[in-house]
Each structure stands twice: as structure tokens, then as C-alpha cells.
């Protein structure tokens, strides 16, 4: 074995010097570079996402409870090295002078928030990081409603607070969009003195937790067995599904692009190995003649490829790391905190990909090399025994295909694969047809053209392979360009600069017309109002449902809580029916429901099922006629369950709408709230900006990964040309000897490549 290794290293050096391995090397570097670069980048995006999401919940992990959580939770968390902070939120009437108003009081301690930060507007000197005992921070709405100034007093329960700051932003404000009254932030030390918390008070307790990933995971695990009734652990994944969806999409695209680079590199490797094998037939025959055993020869080549693969893969990882650094630079502008370094996993995966790619494509032809007839040393014309050797490529190609489907999702993956297979088949078929046709064309043209075109006829298999390689490469590039365009367009459409950034809730039916007038007066398009009725799911197909019926936490949660139900005659813009059909006039008066696909799956609801809701004590039953797909990252108002008008129209409803408010026009919301004091306006501009920022970065990342694909495509082309160049060089020499001019030779080569290129190009474009 040592002998084989030593000799293979020698041959590696010699083959390298002779330029035999450059295509292989470049193809591998590109593939590994793409995979590991995207891997490193994705790794860091995960971290960035985690940080962003944690800013959105004010912690890494939140233990929610509807009662004071047992002290053991905080103790255990601290023992595990986590930071903790308990905050309480409860609704209460607050007053200023004669006026009073329902407010959402939040009581926090010194460490709040564990992630993200509070932002305040005008404030008293020494307002501190959080309200000092005896003082309170009121949000803009409360300030406006009471006409408060800094330094004024506000009463809550038995205590009177000095308002020391205007509260502009809390990191964990976006948790629940609905039923939010104006905010009053106080110090937790004051809670008891207000006397507001008594038996039966509606207090939400949240134990904020923050720390490193290991400790968090450990706590998650520990807490799993200790949660009691009304206690729930909420992490990053549960926090912001919209941000997550956007990022997952971009990651999936990046992964797909990287994988396509691998597919292309695979084609290049296959072609290069083919050439390598063809050029090593003599070496094998001579070595057999000089006494080498078949296994020894295979060993030599395997070692040689292993060393080459290892070095190329490591070079690829280096390229990947460098390219990810460029990507991370862009990302860094988005994330405030310094990013922890990426893990080593992408490097390991990169090297594994490189070796798997090389061996997947190299082993079949290398194993065939052992069958080289030794007699070739006496009779040059003896080549490898029959067999196209194409079967050997099916396995690695199949595995790569599975990878594509895994990365891109079944639909997109199969589509991309299908296109590739069709391109390959078309290319092979048309290559063969071309060979036939050219045989008939030869008589009619000049010598150069005739010779060039005749070449196609004389090397049908080789040219079919070339056309296929060109075709697949072009196809993959085009397909990905199209996919990229689609993805970017749909994102940009959804998160266009005009995407809604304000939600208005709690609108009463008699305010709809005045509000429309209000928006018109301000030269804003009148927003669309969606009715909203709150109800709790109590039965499916008349069978009562309880949280305990479901294993999944999400499903339990969905059954436990009240839903916002809406009704409509037409499906909402951007929603897509995935089962059943929408109701039309013919079924007017029937009680029908449209359910969002995700919760239908979670709760095991199908078209045709009947759902019973408890709405303010009354029971309503209706039948599910369709399931919808909702794009939650669109920032439009969306509902899990939409009913036909007859189901809900007799229940008292409030309305919700969303609109786009350009920056710097916050006067409009202030006026809106003054005119309609009961409204709650929720500002999601910051969140929208964050997501748009992320997508912009993702777009850059895509452009970048696309470069890898392009490089891989070029390598394929180069490899395909190199495969036939050996033969071409010899033929050209013979031709020149027979008196052909340089021009004639070039013209002939041009004719051949033009025909092949034209064909491959048209197949790719198809």
C-alpha cells in the first residue's frame, strides 16, 4: 500500500505538471467553494437571525405563564448560567386628572430587556435605563390621549407616578398585535404598592432568559419536564415566523444555487475523468506489461484522486471561506453585534462534497481502467472493452438529484431536475440526429465546412456528450436565473417599499365611513377593512376538541386560544386555494369556512369537516369548503379562518386594516388616534425595514453564489472542448500536412463548434 501511495503521489505530481488534472481541480474547487461558502454564510445568517429574533422578543427564550411562575425556573436557569428577568403585564385603568383610560401596564426590572433595547423620546434628566421606582414611561398614544407632558403625574391603582420619559420602542412589543392598549412602563418594585394585582387579575408573567446556546438548549430540555398548566416556553423559532420564512427562502435558494454548481462541476468532473482515463490507457497497459497488478493500478489512481480531491477540497473550502467573508461583510451592516465565527461544519461538509463528487464520478471510469487490454502495448488500436460507461454516472447524478429535491423542495426540485433530464435527452437525441443529417449535407458545401461538419458525424458519441454537457450547463444557468428572478420578484412585490407598515385595530363598524373620509381628506387611498370576530374552536365534526387531543405544542396552543375570525365574499389578495373551492353567489346563505393550510394540517382539518366555534358564548357551526395558502411575510392582514358572510355577520365585530405610512408622516397616526381615540395603531415599519434589509442582503448573496455557477458552467465548457481536443490536434496536424491552410483548419473547427453550439444553445433556451 505504501508503494502504491508513493507511486501515486509521484504520478500525481507528474500528471499535475503535465496539466492533466487542472480541469478536475478547478471543478472541485468551484463545487466545494460554492457549497462551503454558502454553508459558512448560512451558518452566520442563522446566528444573525437568532440575534434579530431575540431582539424581537427581548430575550433568547421566554417562559410565559398566566400565574407567577415557580421560583424553581429562574433558579434553575441561573444555575445553568442564564440571565433571567421577570416581567409582568396587565391591563388596568390609569388616570390623569379627570380623564381615565385603559392601559397595558408593564412592570420590569433592572436587567430588562435582556436583548434589544428600549428607545425613549423626550425625557427628564436621569430617567435611567428603565423607569425608577415612583416614575413611569408612557407611550406616545397615552401621552396624546391625556395630553401629558414630561413631569406630569399619572395614577395607576393606589400609586401616583411621575412620567419621566416618552416610550417609543420596546423590543418585545410586537408579540401580540391585538388588544393592545396604550403602554405604561413601570418599575417592578412598584407593582405591589399599586395594589392592582389581586386574585383573579389578568396578569401575564414572562420570565425572560438569555445566554449561550448550550445553556439555552439545556434549559429547554430541563424545562420540558417541568412545565405546568398555563406555562409555555417560547423561543426564537416561534417568535417571528415572517422573518424566518424570508430567511429560509433565501437560504434555500443559496443552497440550491450551490447544489447546481455542484451538478455542473459534476458534469465537468465526469468529462475530465473521461479524458483522464482515455489518456491513461497507455500508462495502464504499459504498467500491466511491466508487472503491475490490476488492483495496484486501481490503488494508484484512487490514491492519486484522493490526494487531489483532498487538496482541491481544502482549496475550495478556503475559497468558500473567503467568499463567505465578503457576504458576511454585507450582513454585518445589518446586525449590530459582532458575529461569532461560523462553525467548522461547512468545511467538513465541503470536503466531503468534494471527495464524494470526485469519487462518484471518477470511480466507474477508473475501475474500468483495470480492464485495459495489456496487448495494447503491441496493438495501439485496442481500447477499453465495450460499454458506454454512462451507467456509472447514474448513481452520482441520482444522488445529486436527490440533493436538489431536498434543497429546493419537492415541487421546485422536481421541476429543475425534470428540465435538466429533458435537456440531456434532447441534447443526446439531437446530437445523434445532427450526426445523421450532416452526413447528407457534406456534398453541398466547401471543404472546410464539409470537414468540420463531417467531424460531428464521425464522433457521434463524443459530440452527443459535448452537446449534452453544453446543454445541461446552459440549462442550469438559465433555470437558476429564472428561479432567482421569480424569487426576487415575489419578495419585492410582497415587501415592496409600499408594503403596509401600520396596522389599525379595534375599528368599530360605525367608524368605517368616517375613517374612509379621514384617509381621503389626507390624500391617502382608502384602506380595506376586514371584519374580525373572536372565537374559540370547540368542536371538529361535532366532536369536542381539547388541547390534550394534540401532541404538537402549536396545535394545543391553537385550540387553547381565541382565534380572530373574519368573513368575506371574495378570497383575499395573495391567498392561494390549495384544496376545495371558494364560495360564490350560488351558495349564498350557506355557512362555509376557508381555513389556512398550516393550521388545517396542525389540527387535522380537511375540506368537508365542520368546525364549531364559541363566539361570546354562542355556538356557530360551519363547514370547511376550502384550504388556503397564506403568505405570512406579505405584511397584509391575514386570517387563519375566514367564513362566508352568513356565518358571522350577525355578531358584533371590530375591524382591522393596514396601510403604508411614509416615514416622517407620523402626524397622521397621531391625528387618527386623536379623532378616533379607541383605535390602536401598530407600527411595524421597523420590522418591515429589517426584513427588507435582510432580503436585500440575500439578493447580494445570490448574485455572488451565481458567480460560482457561472464559473462551474465555464469549466464544463472547457472540459467538453478539452475532451475532443486531443483527437482534434492530431487531425489538424494531418490536415495541415496534406496542405490545408490555417484558415481552412480554423473554418473547419468553427463549423463543427458552431453546429454543436447552436444546437446546445437552442436546447438550453427551450
Amino acid at each position: 500500500m505504501m508503494r502504491a501511495l508513493r507511486l501515486s503521489l509521484l504520478m500525481l505530481a507528474r500528471d499535475w505538471r503535465a496539466g492533466e488534472l487542472r480541469i478536475l481541480f478547478v471543478a472541485l474547487v468551484i463545487a466545494v467553494g460554492a457549497v462551503s461558502g454558502v454553508g459558512f454564510f448560512t451558518d452566520r445568517i442563522e446566528v444573525a437571525l437568532a440575534q434579530q429574533a431575540s431582539h424581537l422578543i427581548g430575550a433568547d427564550l421566554v417562559l410565559r405563564a398566566d400565574h407567577a411562575p415557580d421560583a424553581q425556573f429562574a433558579e434553575q436557569a441561573r444555575r445553568m448560567g442564564l440571565q433571567t428577568e421577570l416581567i409582568l403585564t396587565f391591563p388596568s385603568m390609569v388616570s390623569h386628572g379627570e380623564a381615565s383610560q385603559l392601559a397595558e401596564i408593564k412592570a420590569v426590572g433592572a436587567a430588562y430587556p435582556l436583548r434589544g433595547r428600549l428607545r425613549i423620546g423626550s425625557s427628564m434628566a436621569g430617567a435611567g435605563k428603565i423607569p425608577q421606582p415612583g416614575s413611569a414611561w408612557a407611550d406616545e398614544r397615552l401621552m396624546a390621549q391625556f395630553g401629558l407632558k414630561i413631569g406630569d403625574r399619572i395614577e395607576a391603582g393606589k400609586l401616583s407616578f411621575v412620567v419621566t420619559a416618552v416610550l417609543l420602542e420596546e423590543p418585545d412589543r410586537s408579540g401580540d398585535f391585538f388588544h393592545i392598549a396604550p403602554r405604561l412602563l413601570i418599575n417592578r418594585a412598584d407593582v405591589a404598592a399599586t395594589g392592582l394585582i389581586q386574585e383573579g387579575s389578568r396578569v401575564a408573567y414572562r420570565l425572560l432568559l438569555a445566554g449561550d446556546e448550550k445553556a439555552l438548549a439545556a434549559f429547554r430540555k430541563w424545562v420540558g419536564t417541568h412545565l405546568g398548566r398555563g406555562e409555555k416556553l417560547e423561543g426564537l423559532a416561534e417568535a417571528r415566523p415572517d422573518v424566518r420564512t424570508a430567511l429560509e427562502r433565501s437560504q434555500r435558494y443559496l443552497g440550491l444555487a450551490a447544489l447546481m454548481s455542484v451538478v455542473l462541476a459534476g458534469v465537468a468532473v465526469a468529462l475530465a475523468v473521461r479524458r483522464f482515463a482515455a489518456r491513461h490507457l497507455d500508462i495502464c497497459a504499459v504498467m500491466r506489461c511491466l508487472g503491475a497488478s490490476q488492483n495496484f493500478i486501481v490503488q494508484i489512481f484512487l490514491w492519486q484522486f484522493f490526494c487531489l480531491g483532498l487538496v482541491a477540497s481544502m482549496a475550495g473550502v478556503a475559497v468558500g471561506f473567503a467568499s463567505h467573508a465578503v457576504l458576511a461583510q454585507w450582513l454585518a451592516t445589518l446586525v449590530s453585534a459582532p458575529l461569532p465565527p461560523p462553525s467548522w461544519m461547512p468545511a467538513v461538509i465541503g470536503v466531503a462534497t468534494g471527495l464524494a463528487l470526485l469519487f462518484g464520478f471518477a470511480i466507474p471510469p477508473l475501475l474500468r481502467l483495470r480492464q485495459v487490454p495489456t496487448l495494447r502495448v503491441l496493438r495501439r488500436e485496442l481500447g477499453l472493452p465495450g460499454g458506454k460507461g454512462l451507467l456509472g454516472f447514474l448513481l452520482p447524478m441520482g444522488l445529486l438529484g436527490a440533493g436538489v429535491v431536498y434543497q429546493a423542495g419537492v415541487m421546485l426540485g422536481l421541476m429543475v431536475l425534470g428540465l435538466l433530464v429533458v435537456a440531456a435527452l434532447l441534447a443526446t437525441a439531437s446530437g445523434m440526429v445532427l450526426s445523421r443529417v450532416t452526413k447528407h449535407l457534406q456534398a453541398a458545401t466547401s471543404a472546410s465546412w464539409r470537414y468540420g461538419v463531417a467531424n460531428i458525424g464521425r464522433r457521434p458519441a463524443n459530440n452527443a456528450a459535448q452537446i449534452t454537457a453544453f446543454g445541461i450547463a446552459g440549462m442550469a444557468l438559465l433555470a437558476l436565473t429564472i428561479v432567482r428572478g421569480d424569487l426576487m420578484d415575489s419578495w419585492l412585490a410582497k415587501i415592496s417599499p409600499q408594503a403596509p407598515n401600520r396596522f389599525v385595530i379595534n375599528i368599530q363598524s360605525d367608524q368605517l365611513a368616517p375613517m374612509q373620509t379621514f384617509f381621503r381628506e389626507k390624500n391617502f387611498a382608502a384602506p380595506t377593512f376586514f371584519p374580525m370576530v373572536r372565537g374559540r374552536l370547540v368542536a371538529i365534526n361535532e366532536k369536542p376538541v381539547a388541547p390534550a387531543d394534540y401532541a404538537e405544542e402549536r396545535a394545543q396552543h391553537l385550540v387553547e386560544r381565541e382565534f380572530n375570525l373574519s368573513w368575506a365574499t371574495l378570497p383575499q389578495q395573495g391567498n392561494q386555494l390549495v384544496a376545495g373551492r371558494w364560495w360564490d353567489a350560488s351558495v349564498a346563505g350557506k355557512k362555509l369556512l376557508s381555513v389556512e393550510q398550516g393550521i388545517a394540517e396542525a389540527l387535522n382539518i380537511h375540506v368537508g369537516d365542520t368546525l364549531t366555534y364559541d363566539i361570546a358564548g354562542a355556538r356557530v357551526t360551519a363547514q370547511v369548503t376550502n384550504l388556503r395558502k397564506v403568505e405570512w411575510d406579505s405584511f397584509r392582514v391575514n386570517f387563519f379562518v375566514v367564513a362566508s358572510p352568513s356565518v358571522l355577520e350577525n355578531f358584533p365585530a371590530s375591524y382591522i386594516t393596514s396601510f403604508y405610512l411614509p416615514t416622517g408622516e407620523s402626524a397622521l397616526t397621531n391625528e387618527l388616534v386623536r379623532r378616533f381615540p379607541n383605535l390602536t395603531v401598530i407600527d411595524v415599519a421597523a420590522v418591515v425595514d429589517q426584513i427588507r434589509g435582510l432580503l436585500d442582503k440575500a439578493a447580494y448573496a445570490m448574485e455572488f453564489v451565481f458567480l460560482f455557477m457561472l464559473a462551474a458552467g465555464l469549466t464544463v465548457l472547457y472540459a467538453a472542448i478539452a475532451v475532443s481536443s486531443d483527437e482534434r490536434v492530431y487531425e489538424t496536424a494531418v490536415w495541415r500536412t496534406l496542405g490545408a491552410t490555417r484558415k481552412q483548419v480554423l473554418l473547419s473547427a468553427f463549423a463543427e463548434f458552431a453546429a454543436i453550439g447552436l444546437l446546445a444553445g437552442s436546447i438550453a433556451a427551450l
Partner: protein, 227 residues
């Protein structure tokens, strides 16, 4: 029928090779009998297409016969498998081909080192440069085959053939690709080395003058050897 020498280093009996071309069976070799004693120099002559190369391929175990036996140094080579025959070749046989068969991506010295490396020789480079020196190419060690003249290439091939000290040297039209003067030089070298090392030489050629230098001349015609 030739007289069978005592303890022949190479012995072929009833060696037959038939191939199918379409529906037709063509007999190339028809029961060839051959015995070569150690140290002998034997030339096999024959017209183009008489089956000389086929015979050489069978005698070296590069190909398998339709019928018949070949023993080298008492070993029945067709009782061995492919790898066994390869190992035997590595140990006992050196080759010189008409088309040199140097590996194009190896330098001259590396080509000579190759069989030594395959045999696991301790100092392949040292031994290879010694034999390169013997064939007068010590100034050409690091040249690639395409940087060498035809005669130089064949001298490298001869160096490679003698590097492992084979018992038997098989040469297939060694001057076939060389001009007369160069060919004569190469042949001189071949016979010198053959004498120095006491190697048994089996030479296949259609060149009568070359054959004259061998101790024994056999002619292959109609698939049989005649002296």
C-alpha cells in the same frame, strides 16, 4: 520441429490463436512449437500480418491463446491469472517495442524508474540513472519523450527494459520506427547489453539483416514456425 534444448527458459507447445471476424474463424497461429535456451538470441522473422506480434503477445502472456501452453522458467503462464502473469513479467521479462511505449507525462528517468518502482526496488532513481548512463543518455534524464529523438526514445526504452535485470528480453520490431543508421546504433546497444547481462533475447522483426545478428532465426509463415 526444433530441437528442444535442455532447461529451456521459454517453452511453447501447440500454441494456437484463432479470432472471429464476422462469421469467419481465422487461424493466426496454428500449433506453434518453440523452445529457447537461457542466453540464446532468437529472431522470429515473418512478413507483415504473419502473426509475429500475436505470437510475441502470447509468449509474454499479454494475450491468451485459443489452445496450447507457454512456460517461462518452468512456470506455465496460462495457469496463472492476469495479475500472476503481470507479476511474472515484472520479475522476468523486459520489453522493447516498435513504438517505444514511453509514458509521455513522465521524464526519461521516470520512465526507466517505473518498472523499478513497480518491483519495489530500494533505490529506483540510482539504478535508473546507472542504466541511463549505460545507454549514453545521462544528459537527457529530465527530458520528456517528446523532447527526445526517435533513437533516444528507443534507448530510453532499452534502458527501461534492462533496468530490472530481466531473464528474458522481448523486442518487437525495435528498429521499425527508426532510420537505418539510428536503428543500427540501437541494435548494437541492444546486443551489447544482452551480452553483458547474459539475457535471453527474443526478437521479432521482418528485417533480415537484424535477424542475422541472432544465433537462431525462425520464420513464421502460415501460422507455424520454420527454421
Amino acid at each position: 520441429m526444433n530441437e528442444v534444448p535442455k532447461n529451456p527458459i521459454l517453452l511453447a507447445s501447440g500454441l494456437t490463436k484463432q479470432v472471429s471476424v464476422g462469421a469467419e474463424r481465422i487461424t493466426i497461429l496454428d500449433g506453434v512449437e518453440l523452445a529457447i535456451a537461457a542466453g540464446e538470441a532468437v529472431a522470429i522473422l515473418g512478413a507483415s500480418g504473419s502473426g509475429k506480434s500475436t505470437l510475441l503477445g502470447l509468449l509474454a502472456g499479454l494475450d491468451t491463446p485459443t489452445a496450447g501452453k507457454v512456460s517461462i522458467d518452468g512456470v506455465d503462464i496460462f495457469a496463472l491469472d492476469e495479475d500472476g502473469r503481470a507479476a511474472l513479467r515484472g520479475r522476468m521479462i523486459g520489453f522493447v517495442f516498435q513504438s517505444f511505449q514511453l509514458l509521455p507525462n513522465l521524464t526519461a528517468i521516470e520512465n526507466v524508474m517505473l518498472p523499478l518502482e513497480l518491483a519495489g526496488t530500494a533505490n529506483p532513481r540510482q539504478e535508473a540513472s546507472a542504466v541511463m548512463n549505460r545507454v549514453g543518455l545521462s544528459a537527457r534524464l529530465k527530458h520528456y519523450p517528446n523532447q527526445l529523438s526517435g533513437g533516444e526514445q528507443q534507448r530510453v526504452a532499452i534502458a527501461r527494459a534492462f533496468a530490472t535485470h530481466p531473464l528474458l528480453l522481448m523486442a518487437d520490431e525495435p528498429t521499425g520506427n527508426l532510420d537505418t543508421a539510428t536503428g543500427a546504433h540501437v541494435i548494437d546497444l541492444l546486443f551489447e547489453l544482452n551480452r553483458e547481462r547474459g539475457t535471453t533475447l527474443l526478437l521479432v522483426s521482418h528485417d533480415e539483416s537484424l535477424a542475422q545478428r541472432c544465433g537462431r532465426r525462425l520464420v513464421l509463415s502460415d501460422g507455424r514456425l520454420q527454421s
